[in-house]
C-alpha cells in the first residue's frame, strides 16, 4: 500500500512557482529520502502534505485518504518533526506530549504510558516538568521527535531531524529511526547530511526548482547516475586514441564507468605501444557527488 502518493502537485507564490508538477509515491515501510538544495521545494511539498500550505492543483493521498477531502482521517496517520522548534510556551515537556496527543483525539489517561515510554526513550524523563526553553539544543531536538511520535503515526515526516546535534546523538537518532522503520513506520526524511540519506534511506527523491529530477532506490541512484571512473597510471605518455568514454591525459588514462566495456581495448592499445601500467584505481561517486551534479545542471 502507498503510504504517501503525490500526483502532479503545483504550488505557486506570487511570482514564484515553488512546486511544479511534483509526483512521487512512498510505499508503506519505506525509508524515503527527500533531497534538494535550499529553496528547491522540499518544505513546500511537505507543507502541502501536512496541510500547512494550500495547493492549487494536484492530489495528495496518505494511506489512500485524500488529504483535502478526508483531512481528519489522513492527518491522524501522520507525525511531523519540523526543523524549527514550535513548542507551546505555556506547557512543560510532559504536557507538550499529553496535549499533542489530545489534539489527535487521545485522552490523557490513555496516552500517559506512551508519554512515559517516549520520555524514557529520548532520555527526557528527568526533565518532564521543565519548560522547553530551558532545554539544550539536543534535548529540544529529541522532544521534537517524541512529539511527532506520541500518537503512534504510520507515516513520520522528519525535516532535518539531526540539524545542530552532536555526532553521538545523531547516531542514536539514526539507530532509533532504523528501529521504528523496522517495526513498520514509514519515514520521509529530509536532511542536509547526504551521507545520512545514503545510510538510512532505501529510496531517494531529488527535487530542484520545484521539479523532481531523480527518484529511485538509493542504490540504483548511486549506480545509474554514477560518473565514477577508473584511473590508469602508466610509466610514460600514451598517444591519444579516440575511444568513447575514455580520456587520455599524458600518463593518466581515465575510463568513465559508462565506458567500462572499453577497458580491454584500452589495455590492448597500451600493450601495442609497449606502455607499462603502474597502477589502476577505481573512483566511485557518492550520493553527494550525484546530488551536486544534478542540482547544478
Amino acid at each position: 500500500m502507498k503510504a504517501l502518493s503525490i500526483k502532479n502537485l503545483h504550488k505557486s507564490y506570487p511570482g514564484i512557482k515553488a512546486v511544479d508538477g511534483v509526483s512521487f509515491d512512498i510505499e508503506e515501510g519505506d525509508f524515503f529520502g527527500f533531497l534538494g538544495p535550499n529553496g528547491a521545494g522540499k518544505t513546500t511539498t511537505i507543507n502541502c502534505v501536512i496541510g500547512l500550505a494550500k495547493f492549487s492543483d494536484g492530489r495528495i493521498e496518505i494511506f489512500g485518504k485524500d488529504n483535502k477531502k478526508d483531512f481528519i482521517d489522513a492527518r491522524k496517520l501522520v507525525g511531523i518533526a519540523p526543523q524549527e522548534y514550535n513548542f507551546d510556551p505555556y506547557l512543560n515537556i510532559e504536557d507538550v506530549l499529553i496535549y499533542q496527543a489530545g489534539y489527535y483525539g487521545i485522552s490523557k489517561k490513555k496516552i500517559l504510558p506512551r508519554v512515559k515510554e517516549l520520555l524514557k526513550q529520548f532520555d527526557l524523563d528527568g526533565k518532564k516538568e521543565v519548560d522547553f526553553r530551558k532545554l539544550s539544543g539536543g534535548m529540544k531536538r529529541r522532544l521534537t521527535l517524541a512529539r511527532a511520535l506520541v500518537h503512534s503515526p504510520k507515516l513520520l515526516i522528519l525535516d532535518e531531524p539531526t540539524a545542530g546535534v552532536d555526532v553521538g546523538l545523531r547516531l542514536d537518532i539514526h539507530k532509533y529511526l532504523k528501529k521504528i522503520n523496522g517495526e513498520g513506520v514509514t519515514i520521509l526524511l529530509t536532511s542536509h547530511y547526504i551521507d545520512e540519506i545514503e545510510k538510512l534511506c532505501n529510496k531517494t527523491c531529488i527535487i530542484n526548482n520545484g521539479k523532481i529530477i531523480a527518484n529511485d532506490l538509493t542504490k540504483n541512484l548511486v549506480d545509474d547516475l554514477d560518473t565514477g571512473h577508473t584511473e590508469i597510471l602508466t610509466d610514460k605518455k600514451s598517444k591519444v586514441k579516440k575511444i568513447e568514454n575514455v580520456e587520455f591525459n599524458g600518463n593518466k588514462i581515465i575510463v568513465w564507468n559508462k565506458g567500462k566495456d572499453k577497458m580491454k581495448e584500452v589495455f590492448d592499445y597500451l600493450s601495442e605501444q609497449k606502455i607499462k601500467v603502474l597502477d589502476v584505481k577505481s573512483v566511485k561517486d557518492s550520493l553527494q557527488d550525484i546530488f551536486l551534479r544534478l542540482t547544478k545542471k
Partner: protein, 252 residues
Amino acid sequence: MNWVGLWSLIMRENVRTIKVINQVIWPPIISSLLYIFIFGFSLGKNFEIGDVSYLVFLVPGLIMMNVIMSSFEESSSSLFLGKFINYIQELLIAPMSHWEIALGFLFGSILRAFVIANLIFIVFLFFIDSGIYSVWMYVYFILFVSVIFASIGLIIALWAEKFDHLAVLNTFFITPLLFFGGVFHSIKLLPEIFQKISLINPLFYMIDGFRYSMIGVSDGNVFVSMAVVFVLALVTFSFAVYLFKIGYKLKV
C-alpha cells in the same frame, strides 16, 4: 467530532490563563474596585439614576466592560502568540476541524469572561446590597457577548502581523464605543440627538441588556438587546470560523 481535541484546546487555554493570572484575572478586579471608589463612593455618592443609586447602576456596566475586554484579549493574544511563535502549527496539522479550533479558543475566552464577571460581582457584593434580577439573562448576556468579542479577537489576531495591530481595535473602537455605550451613564441623560446616535452603537445593547439582567432597569427593550447580541454572536463567530477554514494568514 474530535471531543478530546476540543477539550485539550480548552484546557490548554485555561492553563495559559492560570499561568498569566496576574496579568489577566486580578487587573480587571482591581480596576473595577477603583472605578467604584472614584465614581460610586465619591462623585456619584448622592446621585441616582431612575430608582437606583449610581453605584448599583454602575456595577453591571463595569462587569460588562470587563467581559468585553477580557474575552477580546484572551482570544486575540492567545491566537496571535500562537501565530507569532508558530505553535499554532500544532493545531493546524492535527485532526481537528476549523470550527473545533475556533470553538476551543472561544471556550477559553468565555470561561475567562465568566470567571472575571463573577469575581467582580462577588467583590461588589461587599459594597452593594444587590442580587441578580434574572439569572438566565445574566448568563445569556455574558455568554453571547463573550462569543462576539472572542470571535472579533480571533479575527483581529488572524489579520494582525505585529502585536501593535492588536491594540488598534481596542484603542480606536472598543474603548470609545464602551464609554459611549452606557457603562457610566444612562443614555436618557443625553440630548435627544445623542440618544439616537447611541442606538447605532452595538455595545449599548450589550451593556443595557446586561444591566437589565442584573438590576431590572434598562434604557431600551431587553428583548431587542438579546436579539442584537444573538445576531452579532452568530455573524462574528461564523466569520471567524470561515477565516480558519480558508486558512487566512495561517496557511500560505
